[in-house]
Chain length 340, copies 2
Amino acid sequence: MPELRRDPIAGRWVIISPERAMRPGQLKPTARYAQPAPENCPFCEGREAKTPPEIWASRSSGAPNSPGWSIRVVPNKYPALRIEGDLGKRGDGIYDAMAGIGAHEVIVETPQHLLSTSEQPPTQVADTLTTYKARMTDLARDKRFVYCLIFKNVGDAAGASLEHSHSQLIATPIVPVRVQSKLDRSLQYFDFRGRCLFCDMIQQELAADVRVVTATDHFISMQPFAPRFPFETWIFPRQHISHFESTESAQLPELAALLHDTITRIERVALGPAYNYLIHTAPNNLTHSDHFHWHLELLPRLTRVAGFEWGTGFYINPLPPEDATRYLREAGSQAGRGLP
Amino acid sequence: MPELRRDPIAGRWVIISPERAMRPGQLKPTARYAQPAPENCPFCEGREAKTPPEIWASRSSGAPNSPGWSIRVVPNKYPALRIEGDLGKRGDGIYDAMAGIGAHEVIVETPQHLLSTSEQPPTQVADTLTTYKARMTDLARDKRFVYCLIFKNVGDAAGASLEHSHSQLIATPIVPVRVQSKLDRSLQYFDFRGRCLFCDMIQQELAADVRVVTATDHFISMQPFAPRFPFETWIFPRQHISHFESTESAQLPELAALLHDTITRIERVALGPAYNYLIHTAPNNLTHSDHFHWHLELLPRLTRVAGFEWGTGFYINPLPPEDATRYLREAGSQAGRGLP
């Protein structure tokens, strides 16, 4: 059984997975992932038997776990957390631990062997977002889970262990420390100002118009004022919504087109880098929050994280976000691919 | 001039270095560093002209910036922060920024082209620690700097841009967010308990004796209860000392031997991985702190950081620290290389 342990000094939680324990002989220093050949990819249509049985699928034909699907959700074959059991919270002197209970699912976004979101039609991306919403809504009913994180790894440098385009969902019994710190800071701001920090930032950015890549009717894609990485991009709903899963389904195609367009621009300018994206939504135990505003963080992996970043938690970024914005805007217009 | 910018949501600071700005054509996705051949290494004895003039050196002969040194400190040729100027703190709506003022120095640890701390004699490592202490003490006199971080990157996966064994020092005008969070938590603990969190942890670890790799008269090397990475190792002084630079000079050889031994064990068990180490000391504006206890974090880079870790700030570690401790203890005794 995996165990969740809390560091008493830093306050962060770590998942210790002894079942996957490495023994000295198995330790390969920073090895690249050995990708299966596409003809052996477990996520391609026709190889459904190579994954655990599906939890959810969008399919036009066929029985579960057979061809005919367009999106498929399966449990992670090597889950970081286990779905069954009690939390069993315990202390040990100054330490805190609990059982590694949680959900760890894989969203296979396409039956074809495509690698990036940009290679999929925007309608397919919209189906992926709809699937996120459905799974998050379902898992929020389990009272053991207080948080649900969606993330996607593309490319070896971003930690993708399989190249076939997929996202992952982890539902956890605690609010992750990075989300908690955003919740704390935005609550402080709300207490002081009576307004949402994110809403104020979006208004300031729209007025200044130097870091906004694209604004659509309901969403905005922008470079943050203090980005950790070149071309780090954030996407927000323009109106205040605390939970991703509260987004109206009718708006998801617009969001999907924006996400697709943003990734396409970044790949064009930065020569197809590895990237991660992740969604920060409000915790499940808040039904509505005036101070937290969901958002998507898109993190191209163009720079390295070294001792300085690990030591301080602050980052060195060689590309001012105002320059990055200009490059991304030009990338769209050159190709005549801007959003309507 | 580099600029320090604060993210209003996460609270972290980022250094924006427009002088090193990348233009789209210069972006190489996650390229490996192109290492100069050893015969062109700018840190080797005899090539002193290839670095900026030295700030400090330990030398048995020769004029400054000529051969005859055993340790040499030079400004970083591509500094993340600049030493001259005022902080010029400013606001812009919800954003905060200041000039990127600070010191960024390189400690060249050996005149020979060696790669890791383990290849240097422990006496040489002791000289390096003595140099850290001297530079930190000197920079603490500059009232613009509130914090001084020492770090070392070894190997490409750890972000080393030159392989010749060297450390770096960055003095910053703000307390880094990771250090601040440790200060906050240890102060909370001190307020509640009246004791140092680190001291309590060290006592609990010495009593439990399942995560202690080596204990010497004045120092302890241990695996943390919730390590982010396999073989993550912390070194502490056993007695309460808040600032690294307050460590008695007479104890530095003992610390150097422990650091050398610990890195040797990790390299033996984990097949010579890339690694970072860094020193967390108390801020300069605290002359003494009852709640903060300096320590060294040693981070082998055996696992990858992917979307989950970026999204949550928590980590998945496949190696329980109790197992890691056993492997490291055995690695020492097999080779008959344990410390006295």
